[in-house]
């Protein structure tokens, strides 16, 4: 139940981001019980070495985001290659939430 709410909020946040930023090509959700963990893929992102690092933000209920969020920006070529922080799990656990139709 909580995860489905996080998924809905994550999709809302993702949609908000891609509507305003055409360079974002994909957005992945790394499932968690207590926060929205997103990886956004964009061609103009900076490269990472071994592990990418997200930035964390407080909940924003006024914008319909009742959970804290962690968001990272990576290059397309780093997808599935550069690992998330260990507590985020791994790429196999990630869910492509935008664009929805491609998975």
């Amino acid at each position: 139940m909580i995860m489905s709410t996080i998924l809905e909020s994550a999709k809302q946040l993702a949609l908000d981001h891609v509507r305003n930023e055409p360079t974002i090509s994909e957005i992945y959700l790394f499932p968690a019980d207590n926060e929205i963990r997103l990886v956004e893929v964009a061609q103009d992102a900076l490269p990472w070495e071994r592990e990418f690092a997200p930035f964390y933000f407080q909940p924003d209920p006024q914008r319909g985001i009742p959970f804290p969020s962690g968001i990272a920006l990576i290059r397309p070529e780093d997808k599935h290659q550069i690992q998330p922080p260990s507590r985020w799990g791994n790429w196999e656990q990630s869910i492509l939430i935008w664009p929805e139709a491609s998975k």
């Binding site: 930023e21 930035f55 964390y56 920006l73």
Partner: protein, 163 residues
């Protein structure tokens, strides 16, 4: 008093910002100190946002540029700004990126011993004069229009974090 990592980094960034702000209005302060504080506070601010209360921030290269870049793509602090349109906010953050790159490049470990940095003396060229940061203008940072824009951006963030 023990704080969480995130709170502690943001608290120290805020304190650095207050020193920076006080020096900004004092023409007797050598500019290297302004630039040094700006460098330190932007790094700590970005590190604060890159961690949670329970974890040390990760060692990230060019962290403030990354922070601005994420904020440009996926604004989470837009509501702190006084800009009415999100496109304006995005443009405003994007305009700060070249200055952020310059600030991060001034760190001694990036600049090396032959280029200006706000902390340690350097030699101009391989046989040129040795310069102390206190005598250098840092015009390439401070004279930019974006310098004051960055100050306003940081001020809004710290004001919002305080509330």
């Amino acid at each position: 008093m023990s704080l969480g990592w995130r709170t502690a980094f943001l608290r120290q960034a805020r304190s650095d910002f207050e020193r920076f702000e006080a020096m900004l209005g004092d023409p007797s302060v050598p500019r290297c100190h302004l630039v040094h504080y700006l460098q330190m506070l932007t790094e700590k601010l970005a590190k604060g946002f890159s961690t949670t209360e329970t974890e040390r921030p990760p060692a990230i290269h060019r962290i403030f540029v990354r922070f601005l870049q994420l904020e440009m793509h996926s604004p989470s602090l837009y509501h702190f700004s006084d800009l009415k349109k999100r496109s304006q906010y995005k443009s405003s953050v994007a305009s700060l990126l070249p200055l952020a790159h310059k600030i991060e490049a001034l760190a001694p470990q990036q600049a090396g011993i032959l280029a200006p940095n706000p902390e340690y003396p350097w030699q101009q060229g391989t046989a040129g004069p040795v310069v102390a940061p206190a005598d250098y203008s840092f015009d390439e940072i401070i004279s930019l229009k974006q310098f004051l824009n960055l100050y306003q951006f940081l001020k809004r963030i710290f004001t919002a974090l305080e509330s």
